[in-house]
Symmetry: C3
Subunit: 91 residues, 3 copies
């Protein structure tokens, strides 16, 4: 299992997380700050089975609109993928 951490400007995060939730991904959102874009960032934490990582990353990328020329020099979304050793749910 893997953990995807995706850091993005706030204005992109609602659409990305709605899309992931609609596709049955489990998303936790954190308010964060950092980077060069005004208005704060949101960090999405997504726990996924190994065989869904590529799908999850593609879903995220597909929701990021093409960058405006002014932004082209800077990444808008940073994605880290980490290994999850164990996973549990309490019902």
């Amino acid at each position: 299992m893997k953990m995807i951490l995706a850091i993005m400007p706030n204005n992109l995060s609602d659409e990305v997380s709605s899309f992931l939730l609609d596709s049955d991904f489990r998303v936790t959102k954190f308010a964060s700050t950092g980077g060069i874009f005004a208005g704060g960032t949101t960090t999405l934490m997504i726990g996924v089975d190994d065989d869904k990582v590529e799908t999850g990353l593609k879903l995220i990328r597909d929701q990021i609109p093409p960058s405006k020329p002014a932004d082209a020099a800077h990444s808008r979304v940073t994605i880290y993928v980490l290994n999850i050793k164990d996973f549990a749910r309490v019902y």
Copy 2:
């Protein structure tokens, strides 16, 4: 060493984190949102020695009250365990 990340409804987090702190676990709390439960979630981040992971998970589980029938279909607490490669404290 391991990192336990436990995502739970806000109303459960105070009791769980107090209990962990009383048992000498090192807990950092983050406000988060996500999942299907209203009222926001809290994510606890707990750094633990390998031989304390099971104790930590048990302490968390023991503080989660039995689910109401209405909630039985949905997990209330999601727990991820990650490897920590290095650890340091600055005094």
Copy 3:
């Protein structure tokens, strides 16, 4: 690649993160609570290449002022280093 997570009192975090940003580290900040120090904590998440981990840790340590005698028994900054499996930027 590695992820450095550094949890520190709020009053230290601005200086530490400015210093890291000036040194071209990529820093995301999260508001957090926990530990014994009043006033809240900030958790810095820093994605770094393997050969920059030591430099990053040194930069953090160098920005932490000497502890006052009253604080000497308690760590003020906790640092975890995790492995990052994959990394991507969306421009």
